[in-house]
Amino acid sequence: MSRFEIRWHGRGGQGIVTAADLTATAAIKSGFYAQSIPTFGTERRGSPVIAYNRIDRQQIFERSPVVEPDAVVVADPHLLVNPKPLGAGLKSGGYLIVNTAKSAGEVREIFKRSDIKIAVVNATKLSMDILKAPIVNTAMVGALIAATHILTLESVAEAVKDRFPSRLVEPNVQLIKQAYEFVKVE
């Protein structure tokens, strides 16, 4: 694998920074060099949040935000009302992974791009079923790795064990597996 770069879009409280952190942790545990890059503002629950990952075989020198991601993950379906910042810079052949009840075809209509792969999963429903809360970050990590195959389920489960308090490990691993299974890529 050459350099793989990810941009996460969500809203404060959904755990986007943690999702990027889990992804980097799983990558590092799998022997990659990886970064997770949060952006910090005056944090407010509900405001749009962005985070980034870089994953490579080589050491990564860059420190600036990802401009041309290989994958964009959209953790909040309401962000689709303004698709422009979500799709910005997404490489041709890249992945757009969205938490939505819509079909991949409907999402493609919104973005009007035929040169990308689109993956959809209803992560809000899955996390309400399993966690009883709309915290979709781990589900979106599951959807990301199912769509892109950049990391294994096992490595992500290991990262959850590493990062989460023990009572939250099992339900989140289950949620990741569900999202992994139910994601639809087109």
């Binding site: 952190d21 860059e62 600036s64």
Partner: protein, 393 residues
């Protein structure tokens, strides 16, 4: 060797401090430093680290207590930034001139006003005359390693000066990267507790920090000048030993593709990583550009900097802190220009002020900086005023 963990810069530093086993940690939280002392408090609470952890009421007290602890012979640690460092200011000079060793981490952040919690180098640069040895890392691994270097150098009987290790707020402190951590025994064998300085002892009474009247004050200053100068050889020894022991090599400056460079960018901190990546890209287009990162800022490696830049036509120095009214606008540019002048070289410099208060710096900003160098590399006159990168005019 040790194990590789995914760590943000703050946690990396906390692990390194734990491995060096300070006896006294003084803590006052401030973003983006807070999670260093937070993690250290967890290490103390869960028994992994046997230290006095003091929640003090201000940064002024944090350093006052550290001075007292070091005077009593303890290995001490604290971390701060921005307004917290400003509040520590008077104690910084006292610690240095009483010649007490410690490690203090600055997680570099802008200074008010306006209030701004984001990253630049204003706080770090504001204490550049305080008599502390000062270094700044560019990766979380290096931030970790600098703690080990700091204790080894600070407590060396030939030095006995406190050491500031700095990293970029958020850009390092909160970015997770792989960091190899070493066993505590290995860290301690590299940076052993030397108890090499004069301490307060009822059986052998000494006075610390008394009045230095005009008959004595000047000699203290003179002695610190010598100690600071002499610390460079100890730094060089320490990094050589570090490379032998842990396999990672550092030096006072890091040069990147400078050998045949016509133009070069000089700077400090983590953004030099992006600049290195840009250099690789520009080299593919045939642009002869190189980079130089200053790691050790005090004592300033003037001869190394001049030598490394001796064949370059034009140097652009990036400051991430503004010195209003100074000839160059930046401490780093002034020191680099002075180093070149002292070496008698005919190498011109110009300056950039960039990324203040967390203003985003990108690969495109590096391209702008290099474009300026290419424009002026063969001309007689170069801009004297700093070029402000990414600001709205």
């Amino acid at each position: 060797m040790g194990k590789v963990l995914p760590l943000g810069g703050n946690y990396a530093v906390a692990y390194a401090v734990k491995a060096c086993k300070p006896e006294v940690i003084t803590a006052y939280p401030i973003s983006p430093q807070t999670t260093i002392v937070e993690r250290l408090s967890e290490f103390v609470a869960n028994g992994e680290l046997d230290a006095e952890f003091l929640h003090v009421e201000s940064e002024h007290s944090a350093l006052s207590v550290a001075i007292g602890a070091a005077a009593a012979g303890a290995r001490s640690y604290s971390a701060t930034c921005s307004q917290g460092l400003a509040l520590m200011n008077e104690l910084l000079y006292i610690m240095a001139y009483v010649r007490l060793p410690m490690a203090l981490t600055i997680v570099a952040r802008a200074l008010s006003a306006p209030i701004n919690i984001w990253n630049d180098h204003s706080d770090f640069m504001s204490v550049n005359d305080s008599g502390w040895i000062m270094m700044m890392s560019s990766s979380n691994q290096e931030a970790y390693d600098e703690i080990l270097l700091a204790y080894r150098i600070a407590e060396d009987p030939r030095v006995l000066l406190p050491v500031i290790t700095a990293m970029d707020g958020y850009i390092q402190s909160h970015v997770v990267e792989p960091v190899e951590i070493v066993d505590d025994e290995e860290a301690l064998s590299f940076a052993p507790k030397r108890r090499s300085w004069v301490t307060l002892n009822p059986d052998k009474p000494v006075t610390m920090g008394p009045v230095g009247d005009p008959n004595w004050y000047f000699e203290f200053k003179r002695q610190l000048w010598e100690a600071m100068k002499g610390s460079r050889a100890v730094f060089d020894e320490a990094v050589a030993e570090f490379a032998k022991k842990f396999g990672r090599s550092y030096s006072a400056i890091e040069t990147y593709r400078l050998d045949d460079a016509e133009v070069a960018i000089v700077g400090m901190g983590s953004f030099m990583g992006t600049i290195k990546a840009y250099v690789d890209r520009a080299r593919k287009d045939g642009i002869k550009v190189g980079a130089l990162r200053v790691k050790l800022f005090r004592p300033f490696p003037a001869e190394d900097v001049a030598k490394a830049l001796s064949n370059v036509k034009l140097v652009g120095v990036m400051d991430r802190a503004l010195v209003p009214g100074s000839p160059t606008g930046g401490f780093l540019h002034s020191d680099v220009a002075c180093s070149i002048k002292q070496a008698g070289l005919d190498v011109r410099t110009l300056g950039y002020i960039a990324g203040l208060g967390g203003r985003l710096l990108t690969m495109d900003n590096v391209r702008q900086m290099v474009d300026v160098l290419l424009k002026y590399k063969d001309s007689k006159e170069v801009p004297k005023e700093p070029i402000f990168i990414g600001v709205r005019e």
